[in-house]
């Protein structure tokens, strides 16, 4: 039986020149686990909002066609009734939390629909979402991952048969992301819920989803079983969806005729084990490549025995750092990694003089910053925060970029602003308000603002978070270009592909201390650290390691040089 049936659905937002959804037809079976993929703006979120009746009841527009949920046409069913059939978790899930305590929020919808046992329902939902024993906590005590689980619990509390999640793991570190998918898997398998996720992380699709729906230009291009869907590498890439790295690697080998064309492409590491095999040539090449000389230059930042604690709402202050020591040399490109809440942002705030350590000292370019205010340091060090919206204080990005130069009376500020706008491909958008730009444009604008004063040191907090993969690639490119402009750059991130492709030194923070510090070889081959801190190397690296523990492949290109398709190799051996 079908849980969802969409027939020839078209929808146009008021004022839009063309429909966002055009003749969408889709059937989803009860109990399925489906991923919806597609380009930015292809109508994924709009489709999902049509499933729970927000469209057409709450968001009006030109609407035609039918959506049947469990036998009810959404056109004729009230949102309140639909909410008990379809649960929805937004991408910006923290704005979905309405009540101050966990149980209150989880049971809020049940209370509103006058269910007498609303508390029990809330508790049950919390249990299903793995938040048992947290019911009396306040929402600001939860981590990002737990907040997401709470948003999910709020949707689950009404016990809908269908759950829709918009990019559930975009902001989370891998550990929390796994947790979310484990919970979803359980909801699907144990409680029989039909689950739809809008997802860019194809590794997770390969591991958890049964079907994939590709959307293109407001319509459904196809719906296929995941295994089949992820093999359509070229088609996916055309829609800016990037298949798992193992799949892409196999596709590259196939193009080079080094992969059995009859064999399906692998989509998980387990499958990869069956099909890849190491090449014998070029064995020690990468080792030589990896040890690029890192000439020691002078320190630009040094933290000595730094401790810091935070005021908390209740109880004792929380200690974030305890005797932290770190030195950063001129010209280094450093990635700062660690799980959510390890203190990465706090460390950056200390470096720019916004927070002063309770003990220990911090020196910037050889001078102590203990007595300095952040505005005095802004010519030397600059920070771009995680949320680019917070960087916009004027009503156009041009004014935003020039602001710091204007108030300082920098002589060539007009030329420099123009140069920055052009360099970051923002010239056409210069009159727009930063908040109204797309995700990638917003990031580029925030980077331009960050380097306006030409600081020697730039700190970036999660520059690739919340971006779809195509935009992420674009930002990675921009970051690589910026290497030439700014001497010393530190990036705090969960994005291990960025770490591998960009950084030349990795600093790992855990429980307020630096637990590892070194090159990517040193960090990623240290299994103990990886496990303790919960770092997951890029899939292609793990694939390489599984096949040959000696290998260090950080990119698909490196992998393809090091391994080949098994079948092809055997043929090769026969020829010899």
């Amino acid at each position: 039986m079908n849980a969802i049936e969409v027939n020839h659905l078209s929808f146009t937002y008021p004022g839009a020149s063309r429909p966002t959804l055009e003749q969408v037809s889709l059937e989803i079976e009860k109990g399925d686990f489906v991923a919806i993929v597609g380009n930015n703006g292809c109508g994924k979120s709009t489709l999902c909002k049509a499933l729970n009746g927000l469209i057409p009841h709450f968001i009006t527009g030109e609407y035609s066609g039918d959506v049947w949920i469990d036998g009810c046409n959404t056109k004729d069913t009230e949102i309140g009734v639909l909410a008990q059939k379809v649960g929805y978790v937004y991408q910006d899930f923290e704005n979905q939390i309405i009540r101050p305590t966990v149980l209150d929020d989880a049971s809020y919808a049940c209370l509103n629909y006058a269910m007498k046992d609303y508390k029990e329902r809330g508790m049950r939902a919390l249990e299903q979402c793995g938040l048992k024993n947290r019911e009396h906590d306040y929402i600001w005590q939860l981590s990002g991952g737990q907040t997401h689980l709470l948003a999910l619990a709020g949707a689950v509390s009404l016990q809908p048969d269908i759950l829709v999640l918009d990019e559930p793991i975009a902001q989370l570190d891998p550990e929390h992301a796994d947790r979310i998918y484990q919970v979803l898997k359980e909801l699907n398998e144990v409680y029989g819920k039909t689950i739809l996720v809008i997802e860019h992380h194809t590794e997770y699709i390969a591991d958890y989803c049964r079907h994939v729906v590709l959307m293109r230009d407001g319509g459904v291009a196809w719906k296929l079983p995941s295994k089949e869907a992820l093999q359509r590498v070229e088609e996916l890439q055309k829609s800016n969806v990037f298949p798992p790295q193992v799949t892409t690697a196999a596709q590259r080998l196939k193009e080079r005729g080094e992969y059995d064309p009859l064999q399906p492409l692998p989509i998980t590491i387990q499958e990869g084990m069956e099909v890849f095999t190491p090449r014998f040539i070029r064995r020690n090449q990468e080792a030589a490549m990896a040890h690029a000389d890192r000439a020691k230059t002078e320190n630009v930042i040094s933290l000595r025995d730094v401790s810091l604690s935070y005021r908390s709402v209740k109880g004792d202050p929380r200690q974030v750092f305890h005797n932290l020591n770190l030195r950063i040399c001129r010209g280094e490109k450093i990635a700062l990694i660690g799980s959510n809440g390890a203190g990465k942002s706090t460390l950056m705030k200390m470096m720019i003089g916004l927070l002063h350590p309770s003990s220990g000292s911090i020196a910037l370019n050889g001078r102590s910053i203990q007595k300095k205010k952040p505005e005095e340091l802004s010519g030397e060090i600059s920070m771009v925060y995680q949320n680019p919206e917070d960087m916009f204080i004027k009503d156009s990005i041009e004014k935003d970029i020039s602001y710091a130069m204007d108030v300082r009376g920098v002589a060539d500020r007009i030329e420099r602003t123009e140069e920055l706008l052009r360099r970051f491909r923002l010239w056409e958008l210069r009159e727009r308000d930063g908040r109204m730009l797309s995700g990638g444009q917003m990031r580029r604008a925030s980077l331009a603002i960050g380097i306006a004063l030409n600081p020697g040191i730039l700190l970036l907090d999660e520059p690739t978070a919340n971006l779809d993969i195509a935009t992420r690639k674009e930002i990675m490119k921009t970051l690589n270009e910026m290497k030439a402009i700014t001497e010393t750059v530190i990036i705090a991130t969960h994005d291990m592909q960025l770490v591998c492709e960009w950084a030349d030194r990795i600093v790992v923070l855990c429980e307020g201390r630096v637990v590892a510090d070194g090159s990517r070889e040193q960090i990623f081959s240290n299994r103990e650290i990886l496990e303790r801190v919960g770092i997951r190397p890029p899939e292609i690296f793990s694939m390489g390691q599984e096949l040959d523990p000696e290998s260090h492949c950080y990119t698909i290109e490196e992998f393809v040089c090091r391994f080949e398709g098994r079948r092809a190799y055997e043929n090769h051996a026969e020829v010899i």
Binding site: N52, L54, F58, I79, G80, A83, Y88, Y90, D92, N95, Q96, I97, I98, R99, P100, D104, Y108, A109, L111, N112, Y113, A114, M115, K116, Y118, Y138, W140, G154, R311, S312, V313, K314, I352, L354, K373, P374, E375, S378, S382, M383, Y385, N387, E389, D390, M391, F392, I393, D395, Y403, A404, V407, R408, D433, R435, I449, A452, L453
Partner: protein
């Protein structure tokens, strides 16, 4: 000089937005385990009606003093956040307290001091009673209590939602101010004139912060509005049943009786004393 510098630094530190946010949260939710917070909100509102209104109409010093002591004790019991108490002291002082002190210093006699003392006591008693109720109770209890007395659901929702949004707004405000701080170029403030210019600069920045603050918050609340719709907020507002379910959690216990009885006894004793004097 060094002490002075340290003092001014610590005051600036104390007045950071982070501190305000922390104190605001502390005030709303940080004291949910106190005696006052465990009382039934309806009883407390009733109690407040007495101590918030009656002192205005009585001019008897022993009675006012008695009431003042009682509300001072309840304020202590409610473990009110430091900031609120600080604001209270400042408020009372600027209202009437300074007059009282000035009168005392310049040899005002009893006839001058008594009315001022009465006024100061009135203001102080009423404010402390308000602080006890509005900051000792967590916003949800307060909202439920108000609803029981027939206040519209929208009001009680606004109270608890405002408290939910407050930290978000503060956070947003903090980051916008941070942008100004990191990119701005404040005037030097070593001299006295510089300090004034610095103050004006800061006020201007706060005013300018308003535009991005509002836009950012509006952008965030779009989701919240949709979620309220999905979660049935609109249904609840018109459904009598929901109100009943909500209010069914409130219970008057022995503690509430004790609290009322003790307050009553205390007031009776002060009245007795005032008739004896």
């Amino acid at each position: 000089m060094k002490i002075m510098q340290k003092l001014s630094e610590s005051i600036l530190d104390k007045l950071s937005i982070d501190f305000l946010r922390n104190q605001g949260l502390k005030n709303a939710y940080g004291n949910d385990d106190t005696v006052i917070a465990s009382l039934d909100s309806r009883i407390l509102i009733l109690w407040y009606l007495f101590f918030g209104v009656v002192p205005w109409f009585v001019n008897d010093i022993p009675f006012l003093l008695g009431c003042f002591l009682l509300v001072a004790i309840t304020t202590k019991l409610a473990r009110v956040a430091g900031l609120v108490l600080g604001l209270f002291l400042l408020g009372v002082f600027t209202q009437t307290g300074y007059l009282l002190i000035v009168t005392l210093l310049f040899g005002g006699d009893e006839t001058a001091i008594a009315p001022l003392l009465v006024l100061t006591l009135k203001v102080a008693t009423v404010s402390l009673a308000s602080i006890t109720v509005f900051s000792g109770l967590d916003p949800d209890h307060l909202a439920n209590g108000l609803m029981w007395y027939g206040c519209p659901e929208k009001l009680s929702f606004s109270i608890s939602y405002a408290y939910r949004m407050l930290p978000l707004l503060m956070e947003e405000f903090q980051s916008v101010l941070l942008s100004y701080r990191l990119r701005g170029n404040p005037p030097a403030h070593d001299t006295f004139l510089g300090k004034i210019r610095y103050l004006i600069y800061q006020i201007r920045v706060i005013i300018h912060s308003f535009y991005p603050l509002m836009l950012n918050t509006a952008k965030r609340s779009r989701t919240t509005v949709e979620v309220l719709e999905i979660k049935g907020y609109r249904y609840a507002a018109v459904n009598k049943e929901v109100k009943k379910v909500k209010l069914s959690t409130m219970k008057v216990t022995n503690n509430d009786g004790m609290f009322l009885a003790l307050s009553f006894l205390w007031v009776a004793v002060t009245i007795l004393i005032s008739t004896l004097v």
